[in-house]
Every structure is written in structure tokens, then in C-alpha cells.
């Protein structure tokens, strides 16, 4: 009997790459699934905190997806949420300590929002929906993809808000002084959270303009 030897899937097969690409555009956690909005509004007044938070989320998400995926057969279904939370929480504490040690200023600006990564709906959602039923490598890619999709939106919002709200990018003055002499002023509304929401709306608008398949048929 010639048992079919299951061919090993290459690490970067088309199917696996889709796990990374999809969440960045067509299944973006923020603009399509509308998850993780709270931190997208809170930490995007400046670009630096947004970048740091994005990196933290990428790390936490990738590692926790792998860990949960490894444990997935051993977790009793009734307490799976608790186990997931324990994994995320320990990772977040690690990230928080690293941030405090190396980028103390940014960590202070981020304040509670590093801790609140634990409650970030995207992470819980991916653990529950993907890592619990997939092998470690796809789970790792899925984690990276979703966190990247989240991070990209965060960075776009933060870039626009810092540029228009403070006239700087990464705290470097970008809008020249003669602009101000001419009567230009920074837009105070961009610093306030409502404008982050409107910016998310604009990003969704642009995204749907280019990806028509996202528009709901009624």
C-alpha cells in the first residue's frame, strides 16, 4: 500500500503568506473588523508612542500566538480564556519591563496603554479564533500579520495627527517657521481623540475606494 506521504508545506507557501497579507489590507483588524479602536485613539497623538506600541503589540501577539498554539491540545476548553490571559499578561509584563529599562520616556507617555495590551481585543480574538486550532508556524504568521495590520493603521494615524496637530514628525519640526510667520497654526483638534476617530474613518474611506470588494451590498 503506497500510503500517500503528505507533502510538507513550504514555510512561505502562498497559503501562509496570505496569513500575513490579508490582515494588512482586506481583513485589517482596525479598519475592517473595527477592533482595538481604543488604543488607536489614545496613543496616536504623537508618532513615537504609536511606533513603540505597535512593536510591543507585534511581539506580544506573535509570541502569545505561538505559545497558545503549542499548548492548544493541553488546554481544557472551559478555562481556555484564563490560560490565554495568563500567557498574554506575562508577555505584556515582560514588554513593559523592557520598555521601562530602555525607552523610559516613551514608556511614561504610553502609561497604562502598555498594560492595556492585555485587553486588546485583537490579541484575544486571534488567540481564540486562530491559535487555538492551528499549528505554531501559521499561528506565528497570523500573529505577525494582524499586529502589522494594527500597527500600520496606528502609525498612519499618528503621523497625520502629529504632523497637523503639532507640526512635527518624531518630535522634529517639519513645518517650516516661515509657514507660521505667514499665519499658519497647528490644528488643535488633531490632538484631541475625536479627530483620531475621524482619521480612522478617512482611512476606511480611502481603503474602500481602492478595494471595492469591501463595500457591503445592500
Amino acid at each position: 500500500m503506497s500510503a500517500e506521504i503528505k507533502e510538507r508545506e513550504p514555510l512561505f507557501s502562498a497559503k501562509n503568506m496570505r496569513l500575513i497579507k490579508n490582515p494588512i489590507n482586506l481583513n485589517n483588524p482596525i479598519t475592517v473588523q473595527v477592533l482595538g479602536i481604543c488604543s488607536a485613539l489614545a496613543v496616536t497623538a504623537k508618532l513615537m508612542p504609536a511606533i513603540v506600541l505597535s512593536i510591543s503589540v507585534i511581539v506580544v501577539m506573535a509570541v502569545s500566538n505561538v505559545v497558545i498554539s503549542l499548548l492548544r491540545d493541553g488546554i481544557p476548553p472551559r478555562i481556555r480564556i484564563i490560560v490565554q490571559l495568563v500567557v498574554i499578561a506575562s508577555l505584556v509584563i515582560l514588554v513593559d519591563q523592557v520598555l521601562k529599562a530602555f525607552v523610559y520616556d516613551v514608556s511614561k507617555q504610553l502609561s497604562v496603554f502598555v498594560g492595556l495590551i492585555i485587553t486588546n481585543c485583537i490579541i484575544m480574538g486571534r488567540l481564540e479564533a486562530f491559535a487555538m486550532s492551528n499549528k505554531p508556524w501559521p499561528a506565528f504568521l497570523d500573529g505577525i500579520g494582524n499586529a502589522l495590520g494594527y500597527g500600520i493603521i496606528l502609525i498612519i494615524i499618528a503621523f497625520l495627527r502629529e504632523l497637523l496637530g503639532s507640526g512635527t514628525v518624531l518630535d522634529i519640526q517639519v513645518i517650516p517657521q516661515w509657514f507660521y510667520d505667514f499665519g499658519y497654526q497647528n490644528n488643535g483638534l488633531m490632538i484631541l481623540p475625536p479627530m483620531a476617530l475621524i482619521t480612522v474613518g478617512v482611512i476606511i474611506w480611502v481603503q474602500r475606494y481602492y478595494s471595492r470588494e469591501l463595500i457591503e451590498k445592500n
Binding site: 499665519g183 499658519y184 497654526q185 490644528n187 488643535g188 483638534l189 484631541l192 475621524i198 474613518g201 474611506w205
Partner: protein, 386 residues
């Protein structure tokens, strides 16, 4: 008149599909219907068309705004020369204000109508008349010293995010003119409040007994001895946003709106009632000098009257049910006075009160209709039992 008709007819083919300027069809339509009642006829079913279409309704509001607008222009000049300690004749004052006001109006209409035409063209709609009034309202609710580029950005923001994203005129949740004002207020606070912005061309050295602050600004910091008299506030010879100062002129506008049936008296009445009652309540409480201020003054100060007459009565963003109108208006009045007295960051609460209630208006309507349905159902059940 015939010549105009002929001219328009001659130009028409150029704008139809395949014509030279087909991209500008919506703009052409807008101009044509401004002069002539459209000859479009409904093809299916039976319809009765009122001769008063949206464009005529909007023109009534436009006419109602004119007294306040003209007075506002005069007042800009009056305040300007007062701050310089001069006393020229009335026409000089009016002309000065007119020249100050004109660029603001041109920018407001230019940016707003430009965007409207672009959106109408993309969506294959007619250009809506909605902006006809908003475009005049926006210049009237800003301080005379507002930089033009800020007005341009605010108008663009209001048209796009206040109106077009919801589907254009008639679909908007919040009043576009107030959206523009709120945008300016939060984005450029230094040009929207304080003592320097309310008078155009304010000199560095002020004459004695003259400060550029509005009565509301004075009330907020407790300068009650500098408050103008009730008569001055009623006539409107006080610093403030361009069209909002004169309660008298606004009342003339209100009479025009009510007589033609364009605005609803229930909303207007209940806004004033709400503000007055809240003022009386504060009088009873009387913790500080602001609370002790005559309740009537609250109705004369700042943008209260203007908001009540021209903003709260907006048929699109307000409530539609009769009971709902009372609730809606009453809450606007109460919240406006509440914000004024209690929140030191916002000297004028009218804008925020109306925007807040705009958001709640559909909810109020919903519950009024629901309660009506359940009332009728009950009645029917009793009838069936008998």
C-alpha cells in the same frame, strides 16, 4: 427675462452628456434652477408637486438672515471705530464692515459650493441647495478677525464630514454650519475666543473703558460691571460673532421664518423657554454672580438667539414629531445655559448644546413614535375586547 431664458437654452446642449462641458452639468443645473423652476416631471404614479421646492425654502431662510447680516456689517465698523475712539458717519462704518465681511462670505461660498459641485458630479446628483444657507450662516457665526484660510478649512471639513459622508443635504446628522464653528473652536482656539478676536483691526492701545471682550467673556471672568445694558444687548451694539449680536434683527428674521412657515415655532419657543427657566433656576440657586444674572440676559447674550432661530430649527437635524420638538428645544435651552455658567472652558454653550441635541434628535423621535404606536395598540386591544 426672455433673453436670459434663450441664453440658458442655447448653452444647455454643451452640458448634456457628450457635450463640451459635461463634467460641469451639475453646476449648470444649479444655475438654471436658481433662475427658473425646473421643468422636470414625474413619469410614474401620481404626484402632486409643490411649487415651493427646496431652493425656494432656502431663499426664504436667506432673506431672513439678511437683516442680521446687514446689522452685523455695520456693527463690525461700529466696533472698529469705537475701539479707535473715532466717530465717523454711519455709511463709513457700514462700508468698513462690508469690506471686512465680503472676503469671508466669498471664501465660504467658494470652498463650499466647489466641494458640493465636485461631490454632486461624482455621485451624479444635482447640486443641492443645502449649502446656500450654510454658506451664509458660517460667516455669520465666526468672529470678524477669523483668518480666511481657517474658514476655508472649516467649511471644507463641515461639508465633507458634516454632510457629504452621510449622503449629502437631508441626510446629515449634525448641522453643517455648527460643525464648521465647532471645528474652528477646537482647532484654533486662540482665534476663536479671548479678547482680541471680536473686533476687526483692534489697535494695540485701547481707549479707556474699552475692552475687546464679549459680554459672555466678561461674565465668565466675573467682570459684571463691564456688562452692557439690556438695551445694548438687545439692539446688538456689542462685540461678538458677526451676525449674532443683534437680537432685534434676529427676531425680524424669526418673524419672516415663522410667517412663511419655514421654521417651526415649537422649537424656537421651547429653546427660549428652556434657557429662561434654567436662568431662573440659577437665580434661585444664586451661588455666584453669574448665577444671579437676570435670566432674561441669558437669552440676549452670545449666540443664544441666533442659535434658537436659525440653527435649532434646521428641519434636517432637528426633531420631526411635535412632542419631540418641545423636548428637543427645551433641552437645547437648558444645556446651553448650563454650559455657559458651569464650564469655564466654553464661554458659549449654544453651539455645543445644539450639536449635542442634533445627535439625540432621532432618538427622541424614535421614542415619541414608539409610545404613540403602543398607545394605539392598547386602544385597539380594548376595542377588540368590547
Amino acid at each position: 427675462m426672455k433673453a436670459l431664458r434663450k441664453f440658458i437654452d442655447k448653452q444647455k446642449p454643451h452640458f448634456d452628456l457628450g457635450g463640451k462641458f459635461q463634467k460641469l452639468k451639475s453646476a449648470f443645473d444649479a444655475v438654471e434652477t436658481l433662475f427658473y423652476v425646473p421643468d422636470k416631471v414625474t413619469k410614474t404614479g401620481s404626484h402632486i408637486r409643490d411649487a415651493v421646492d427646496m431652493k425656494r425654502t432656502m431663499i426664504v431662510v436667506f432673506i431672513a438672515l439678511i437683516p442680521a447680516l446687514l446689522f452685523g456689517m455695520w456693527n463690525i465698523g461700529y466696533q472698529h471705530f469705537l475701539s479707535h475712539g473715532e466717530q465717523p458717519d454711519q455709511w463709513t462704518m457700514f462700508f468698513y464692515g462690508f469690506l471686512e465681511m465680503l472676503p469671508i462670505i466669498i471664501v465660504s461660498y467658494g470652498v463650499g459650493l466647489g466641494l458640493e459641485i465636485v461631490f454632486a458630479q461624482i455621485r451624479n446628483h444635482e447640486v443641492n441647495e443645502g449649502f446656500f444657507v450654510s454658506g451664509l450662516l458660517i460667516p455669520m457665526i465666526v468672529p470678524p478677525e477669523t483668518p480666511l484660510w481657517q474658514i476655508a478649512i472649516a467649511v471644507a471639513f463641515a461639508v465633507i464630514f458634516g454632510k457629504e459622508v452621510f449622503g449629502g443635504t437631508g441626510m446629515n446628522i449634525v448641522n453643517p454650519a455648527l460643525t464648521a464653528r465647532a471645528f474652528l473652536f477646537f482647532a484654533y482656539p486662540s482665534d476663536m475666543s479671548g479678547e482680541k478676536v471680536w473686533i476687526s483691526g483692534l489697535p494695540d492701545i485701547l481707549p479707556d473703558t474699552f475692552s475687546g471682550a464679549t459680554p459672555l467673556g466678561n461674565a465668565l471672568v466675573g467682570n459684571f460691571d463691564q456688562m452692557p445694558t439690556t438695551y445694548e444687548m438687545f439692539i446688538g451694539i456689542i462685540p461678538g460673532s458677526i451676525g449674532e449680536t443683534s437680537v432685534l434683527m434676529i427676531l425680524i428674521g424669526a418673524i419672516i421664518l415663522l410667517a412663511t412657515g419655514v421654521a417651526n415655532w415649537r422649537i424656537m419657543f421651547s429653546v427660549f423657554a428652556g434657557g429662561y427657566i434654567m436662568g431662573l433656576l440659577f437665580n434661585l440657586w444664586g451661588l455666584n454672580e453669574y448665577m444671579q444674572m437676570d435670566a432674561l440676559n441669558h437669552l440676549l447674550l452670545g449666540g443664544f438667539a441666533f442659535g434658537a432661530v436659525f440653527m435649532a430649527t434646521d428641519p434636517v437635524t432637528g426633531t420631526q414629531t411635535k412632542k419631540g420638538m418641545y423636548i428637543y428645544g427645551f433641552l437645547i435651552g437648558i444645556i446651553a445655559v448650563l454650559i455657559r455658567v458651569f464650564n469655564p472652558a466654553y464661554p458659549e454653550g449654544m453651539m455645543l448644546a445644539i450639536l449635542l441635541m442634533n445627535v439625540f434628535a432621532p432618538l427622541i423621535d424614535h421614542y415619541i413614535i414608539e409610545s404613540n404606536i403602543s398607545k394605539r395598540l392598547k386602544r385597539m386591544k380594548i376595542a377588540i375586547k368590547i
